[in-house]
């Protein structure tokens, strides 16, 4: 088991390095750098000015060199620019101070400086992740129990009318992406045109103080899309367990149906949904981005959109590291959890 976790962590690190390198290359393509220079400097820069702006700030060094600096395995650049000023990576592309560190990369805990928000990246990521964490917590609290209940209800009597209704309902929710259900909810429940002003169409106030009124719609919007899939998986797993021999034995012994479902079938039927739920979390990230933009909830997903549309290189790299870690960590947890839940599986 230890060996397995170690190997998976190694693969995870390798993947993260490869992916950040790809993101690094893509954000450092020259047209992107040009956009960055024009955003930071001014929009009327000539090509030569752009080149000197970028050269002064170390962007035109080799890509590998720059990536090494970002990682913190190569010393940060110190360049005496054409304009006579000396700038260094470790002083946020500003004038080099005497006491600036030599290495300042991710390994040293220095995630860079956001050009969009004018704040250290680590600070932005932490505050925004906390906000998204709040959203995700409520999403999971709504999604998992209701998906499991629906799936179990549908699966305990396969082919019954309840099963058909719930399964069709699950298909409908999986066919409704967040940007469709979100706008439908906003239109129906918040608009002055329909007149049911039950909730708020914006979740900005939920960042400080979440209430049912401003937080329910975003939570429901994300949960609905994921719910259908988990419910269907639970249904399949439950239906399979219900046809098992030991369930038949229990019925013949005279155990009541409710007891069979709750005491005998449930525990075995919940192994598969566990992995599904864990693997569903990365998919929720998509929903989070859409919903945060749609409801103007300024969390991690909103930051991702801001960073990407402004080509905020350091922030974008940090965002992708977080995204990749979330994906790989959930995979790891689902694998390990599966082994613990299902003693028949052995990892050699």
């Amino acid at each position: 088991m230890g060996m397995f976790i170690l190997r998976r962590t190694g693969v995870m690190l390798l993947t993260a390095i490869c992916l950040t390198f790809i993101v690094f290359i893509m954000t450092n393509l020259y047209p992107n750098l040009e956009k960055l220079a024009k955003n930071e400097g001014n929009f009327r820069m000539s090509d030569a000015e752009v080149a000197s702006y970028l050269g002064n700030r170390g962007y035109t060094q080799g890509k590998l060199q720059n990536y090494g600096e970002w990682l913190g395995i190569l010393p940060g650049y110190v360049i005496k620019g054409i304009d006579g000023k000396t700038r260094g990576r470790c002083s946020n592309h500003g004038a080099v101070l005497e006491n600036s560190a030599k290495y300042c990369g991710v390994i040293q805990g220095h995630w860079g400086f956001s050009s969009r928000f004018k704040e250290p990246v680590s600070q932005i990521v932490i505050t925004r992740l906390a906000l998204t964490g709040k959203l995700m917590f409520w999403v999971l609290m709504v999604m998992i129990p209701s998906a499991l209940i629906l799936g179990i209800m549908a699966g305990m009597r396969e082919g019954s009318q309840l099963d058909r209704t719930l399964s069709t309902g699950a298909i409908v929710t999986t066919a409704t992406p967040e940007y469709v259900s979100g706008v439908i909810f906003i239109a129906v429940f918040t608009s002055s045109a329909v007149g049911l002003k039950w909730f708020k169409g914006s979740a900005t106030s939920a960042m400080d103080h979440a209430t049912l009124e401003n937080f329910l719609l975003p939570v429901i919007t994300i949960s609905l899309y994921g719910m259908g899939y988990i419910a269907r998986m639970t249904r399949a797993s439950m239906a399979e367990v219900m046809t098992a021999q030991y369930i038949r034995t229990a019925r013949l012994k005279g155990v009541s149906f409710a007891n069979i479902v709750l005491k005998h079938a449930l525990r075995n039927a919940l192994i598969a949904p566990f992995t599904v739920i864990m693997l569903q979390i990365p998919w929720l990230l998509n929903g989070v981005v859409i919903v945060e933009v749609l409801f103007n909830f300024k969390g991690f997903g909103w930051v991702l959109v801001q960073a990407a549309s402004n080509n905020d290189i350091d922030l974008l790299l940090a965002v992708s590291v977080v995204g990749v870690v979330v994906v790989l960590l959930t995979q790891l947890i689902s694998d390990i959890g599966y082994v613990f839940l299902n003693p028949r599986i052995r990892i050699s």
Binding site: V183, F257, L285, N286, S320
Partner: protein, 532 residues
């Protein structure tokens, strides 16, 4: 000129019936679901659930429903508010208990019959609107009838397809079996509806009432059915679904927008399948280092948050750098490889194949590939313009490439898993003993035998590709901002969503119905293919 109402003068007669049928349907559906929580009836039941437990489901379901409706303050339910929400909850649960008890006195079959009866009534009455609308002026049947009239080509094609398919269904294999499953039929109807609408609407321009990009002064943000300001002879006199913020016709935009989705989503899925199959078969069949490398690569792409990938790939700066064109070069080569290897491995021993047919085929395939990849004016202009068969606009190409890129690793994993499962079967061993080459075995022994799950996944994946296209449009990536495709339209309209609903809701429901149709179709296919 008068504006159109939803159902016109004709609706005054039929609306009461329709609303009655609709509310009856909802009432019976709630009753059926509540009843479905238990099957405590029937003398044959082995160990029946005690009535106390059996009643819990309906009680909670009906009670909570009435409680929530009461909280919202809807007219007939607001009596249940009672001033205190907990008091009202208790009262609602008691009502639920009584209702549940009452329900158990009626047999489940009767309730189901009522549900089906009500749903047929709803369907019949709704089709009355549609059918009457075909033959009368728009004023008589309102917006619903007018839209039905515009969609006449779609109805004819849909009707003909269904009639022919049901008549010949025994000879049509898996497709014919689809007509045995109601779910599959509904799914197929939805999908074909959009296919025909896209064909006649976007392809032949028979359905749309106005130019999807044309702006008419005075039609900005108008509600559905608004009469066209300053209409001349030959103009369609109404904006059937109203006007958007730029005074364009919402209905025509939704119809023309379907063309973009219906072409790109399946095409991108086909390419993703070509990539996934061409790489997944050898990864599963040979295993070893090839498998390790390819699996690592596919896991890497899958570990990328999709939206981040889109934001990185689909920006004007990246398009300028030519990266999508290079990616297209790599991704589009797989169909060529697939066809070449499949044909070569099957026919290589036939006379004249290698000297005549194969070279001709390859020349055509490579020519198609090159003219697809090469774009005049970009970094990749391999073919001279004279030989270049078609130019794909760069913003469509980048959207296409990114959808293919996101989808192919998943297809790869599915194909690889299926191959691992199938390659130890006897018929594979038989082929190996016969001395067939590995590519022949993969493409002509393994692939045809795993087609069932792949077809089902193909349907689901087209739906997913549609969702991805919508996501791109929603973030304003790729297609230009006035493009009528659904995602972009949703994005354009959502700023004024709380006031003007139609410009957003119409494309939203279009997208949802297409994806729903594809998912139902996949479900029907799965059910029917498992039945064998």
């Amino acid at each position: 000129m008068q504006n159109l109402t939803w159902t016109g003068t004709f609706g005054a007669y039929i609306n009461p019936f329709f609303l009655t049928a609709l509310s009856a349907f909802f009432l019976f559906a709630v009753a059926a679901i509540a009843r479905g929580f238990s099957r405590a009836d029937g003398a044959t039941l082995l160990n029946p659930t005690p009535p106390t437990i059996a009643l819990m489901g309906p009680t909670a379901f009906i009670g909570l429903m009435i409680w929530l409706l009461g909280l919202t303050g809807l007219a007939p339910f607001s009596i249940m508010a009672l001033g205190n929400i907990w008091l009202s909850l208790v009262a609602c649960l008691i009502i639920g208990l009584v209702a549940g008890f009452g329900l158990f006195q009626i047999s489940a079959k009767l309730i189901l019959k009522l549900v089906w009866g009500a749903s047929y009534a709803v369907l019949v009455l709704f089709s009355v609107y549609l059918i009457v609308g075909l033959f009368v002026a728009p004023e008589t049947t309102g917006i619903v009838g007018a839209i039905s009239k515009q969609l006449t080509p779609t109805w004819i094609a849909l009707g003909a397809t269904f009639a022919l398919s049901i008549y010949y269904k025994r000879g049509l294999g898996l497709y014919g079996k689809l007509f045995d499953s109601p779910i599959g039929m509904i799914g197929l109807a939805l999908v074909l509806f959009w296919v025909f609408t896209a064909l006649f609407g976007a392809g032949f321009d028979l359905i749309a009432t106005h130019d999807p990009l044309g702006q008419v002064s005075g039609m900005k943000n108008k509600h559905p059915g608004f009469a066209l300001r300053g209409a001349e002879a030959g103009d369609y006199p109404y904006y059937l679904f109203g006007g958007d913020t730029l005074a364009r016709d919402v209905f025509s935009r939704a119809i023309v927008g379907s063309g973009i989705v219906i072409v790109i989503a399946p095409a991108a899925t086909i390419f993703a399948f070509m990539v996934g199959i061409t790489l997944g078969l050898p990864a599963g069949y040979f295993g070893g280092r090839l498998d390790t490398v390819l699996s690592f690569l596919s896991n890497m792409v899958l570990a990328f948050p999709v939206i981040l990938l889109f934001f990185l790939l689909v920006t004007p700066e990246i398009i300028e750098s030519g990266l999508p064109n290079y990616l297209a070069m790599v991704l589009f080569v797989f169909p060529v490889i697939f066809v070449a290897v499949a044909q070569y491995s099957k026919n290589r021993l036939k006379s004249k194949f290698l000297t005549l047919k194969f070279p001709i085929m390859m020349v055509i395939a490579i020519w198609l590939y090159l003219s697809l990849v090469s774009e005049s004016g970009t970094t990749i202009a391999i073919l001279p313009p004279l030989l270049d068969l078609f130019d794909v606009p760069s913003e469509i190409l980048v959207v296409f490439v990114s959808v293919v890129f996101v989808n192919s690793p998943t297809v790869f994993r599915i194909v690889r898993g299926l191959t691992l499962d199938v390659k130890i079967r006897d018929y594979v061993a038989a082929a190996q003993t016969r001395g067939e080459g590995p590519w022949y075995i993969m493409l002509w022994e393994i692939l045809p035998n795993v087609r069932g799950p792949l077809i089902v996944d193909f349907c689901l994946r087209i739906g997913y590709a549609t969702i991805l296209l919508g996501t791109l449009g929603f973030f304003g990536l790729g297609l230009e901002s006035e493009s009528p495709d659904w995602g972009t339209t949703i994005n354009a309209g959502r700023k004024l969503l709380s006031v003007y609903l139609a410009p957003v809701l119409v494309p939203a429901f279009c997208l949802m119905s297409l994806v729903l149709g594809l998912n139902l179709l996949a479900d029907g296919l799965r059910e029917e293919s498992l039945r064998d």
